[in-house]
C-alpha cells in the first residue's frame, strides 16, 4: 500500500500513536503540517522537544514541574498541612480553578486496577505514606475519580493512613444546574448517602 513519501508516512505513524488519534486523523494532521509554514512546523517540533527536556515531576508531590519542585510546592502561601490526593497531574488543574483549595497535592500516577495489573506498588502510595508519617499533616483529601478504580484507590489509601491523620473524600452527588429527574440512580444514591445538614 502506497502512503506517499517516507517522511510523511513516518509522521502519520508517529501521530497515530497519540491517544484518540486514528489512522485517518493522523493522516489529516500530517498533511496539515506539511502544508503549514516552515516556522509553524518548526515551532511545533521545538515545543515537543522542549516539553520533554524541561518538564519533569515534582520530587515532593509528583505534579508536573519545571525544576525539582512544582510551582505549588514552591509557593510559600500554600497551606502545608493539607494534601489533596489526585490520580493524574491533569486533575490538579480543575481543582486549582475552583480557588477553593490552598493546600498541597499528591499525584498518584493512576488508580488501582487489578484487572490491568496496576497494584499499589505501581502508584506513589508509599511516597504519600512517607509524607504523612513525616508529620504536620492535618488532613488528606482523597480526590481520586468517582469511578470503580478511583473509589478502590481511595478506600485503600484511607485504610493505610487514617491512624495518622484526618482523611476526607471529595463529596459525590448531583451536578450543579442539572434536573433531578435526569439523574441516574447511582449518582442520586451517592448524593442521598452523602447528604449534609443545612
Amino acid at each position: 500500500m502506497s502512503e506517499g513519501p517516507a517522511p510523511l508516512s513516518r509522521l502519520t505513524a508517529e501521530l497515530s500513536q497519540l491517544p484518540g488519534i486514528g489512522r485517518r486523523t493522523a493522516q489529516r494532521l500530517a498533511f496539515h503540517i506539511l502544508r503549514s509554514d516552515e516556522s509553524d512546523a518548526r515551532s511545533l517540533a521545538e515545543a515537543i522537544v522542549e516539553v520533554k527536556e524541561k518538564v519533569g515531576l515534582c520530587e515532593v508531590c509528583f505534579n508536573l514541574a519545571e525544576g525539582p519542585r512544582c510551582r505549588i510546592c514552591e509557593d510559600p502561601s500554600r497551606e502545608v498541612s493539607l494534601i489533596c490526593v489526585v490520580e493524574e497531574p491533569a486533575d490538579v488543574i480543575p481543582i486549582e480553578r475552583t480557588h477553593e483549595y490552598r493546600g498541597l497535592y499528591h499525584v498518584l500516577g493512576g488508580a488501582l486496577s487489578p484487572i490491568d495489573g496496576i497494584d499499589a506498588e505501581d502508584l506513589r502510595i508509599a511516597e504519600l505514606r512517607r509524607r504523612v508519617e513525616g508529620g504536620g499533616i492535618l488532613e488528606v483529601i482523597l480526590a481520586t475519580n468517582p469511578t470503580t478504580t478511583g473509589e478502590a484507590t481511595a478506600s485503600h489509601i484511607a485504610d493505610l493512613i487514617r491512624e495518622q491523620t484526618q482523611v476526607t473524600r471529595l463529596a459525590a452527588g448531583l451536578p450543579v444546574g442539572a434536573d433531578l429527574e435526569h439523574a441516574d440512580e447511582v449518582t442520586l444514591g451517592r448524593a442521598m448517602a452523602g447528604r449534609s445538614n443545612v
Binding site: P19, G20, S113, P114, I115, D116, G117, P146, T147, T148, T149, E151, A152, S155, H156, D159, P175, A178, H182, A183, D184, E185, V186, T187, G189, R190
Partner: protein
C-alpha cells in the same frame, strides 16, 4: 425519521468487565453479554459530569443495554439501564479485588468468543451477587475465587479431568496433577506433574459439583493446590495465564 437506522440497534444484557478511557471524554467498555458473548462498545461523552449514562458504565455493573452496531469491532452505547449495581461490593476493597479477578478471568478466557455462553454469564452474575451480599464472606476468600475459576473453566470447556488418570485412565492412586495432561495423573504417568493431595481433589470435585453459595471451605494447602491445578490446566489448554488467586492465601 430516526437518526439511527433501527435495524442496526440491538438490545443486550451485559456485565461490564473492564473500562478504558478513550479520547477526550469517551470510554471503551469490555462487555460480557448474555446474548452475544464478548463484545466491545464505546460510550461517548461518558466521562463528562452531565453524561446521560451517569455512573452506570463502570466495571461490574450488570446492565440492560441498547447498542448501535458498527462495522468495526466497537459498537456504540445508545442507552443503558442498571439491572444490578452491586453497591456493597463496590464499597469494599476485598469485594472489588474479587470481582476484578472474576471479570479478568471471563475477559481472558472467553476473549474473542462472540457466541453466547449462558452458563458463564449466569455464573459471573451469581458470583457478583454473592460478593455483593457479603464482601467479607466466603465468595471473596481464596477458596471462593478458586471455585469461581474452576466453574468458569468448566463453562468454557476446559474443566480438568478428576475422575481418573488423564493420561492412561487408571482410577487408583491419583497423587499428582498435570496441567499438560489436563487432570489428575497416576504414579506411572506423573512426569511434569506436581503432588496433589486427596483434600485438594475433594475440594475441586465439590467446587465443581456444588452451587457457588454452598461452597465448603477447603484448607489452605488444598485450595492452593487446586488453584495451581486450574491455573496450569488453563495455561496448557486455553493458552491463557491468569493471576493466581491462591496467591492471596499466602498473605
Amino acid at each position: 425519521m430516526n437518526r439511527l437506522d433501527m435495524s442496526r440497534t440491538f438490545k443486550t444484557e451485559a456485565v461490564v468487565l473492564r473500562t478504558i478511557r478513550y479520547g477526550e471524554a469517551d470510554r471503551i467498555l469490555h462487555l460480557y453479554t448474555r446474548e452475544h458473548g464478548r463484545l466491545g462498545a464505546i460510550a461517548k461523552g461518558v466521562r463528562k459530569p452531565r453524561s446521560r449514562f451517569g455512573g452506570r458504565l463502570e466495571p461490574f455493573f450488570r446492565l440492560a443495554l441498547v447498542l448501535h452496531r458498527s462495522r468495526g469491532d466497537l459498537h456504540t452505547v445508545t442507552s443503558a439501564e442498571t439491572i444490578e449495581g452491586y453497591p456493597r461490593l463496590r464499597a469494599s476493597g476485598t469485594g472489588i479485588a474479587a470481582a476484578a479477578d472474576a471479570c479478568g478471568g471471563v475477559l481472558r478466557l472467553l476473549d474473542g468468543v462472540d457466541e453466547p455462553n449462558q452458563p458463564a454469564y449466569n455464573l459471573l452474575c451469581r458470583y457478583l451477587e454473592l460478593v455483593d451480599a457479603d464482601p467479607a464472606g466466603p465468595a471473596t476468600t481464596g477458596a471462593g475465587m478458586v471455585a469461581f475459576r474452576l466453574k468458569l473453566a468448566l463453562a468454557a470447556g476446559f474443566a480438568p479431568e478428576l475422575s481418573g488418570c488423564a493420561r492412561c485412565g487408571a482410577t487408583d492412586h491419583m497423587t499428582a496433577f498435570s496441567g499438560a495432561a489436563g487432570g489428575v495423573v497416576c504414579p506411572t504417568c506423573e512426569a511434569g506433574s506436581f503432588p496433589f493431595s486427596a483434600e485438594a481433589h475433594t475440594f475441586m470435585v465439590q467446587a465443581l459439583g456444588r452451587p457457588m453459595a454452598d461452597l465448603l471451605p477447603g484448607d489452605t494447602a488444598a485450595v492452593r493446590q487446586a488453584g495451581r491445578a486450574i491455573g496450569e490446566t488453563l495455561e496448557h489448554h486455553a493458552h491463557v495465564r491468569l493471576p493466581r488467586p491462591e496467591g492471596r492465601l499466602a498473605a
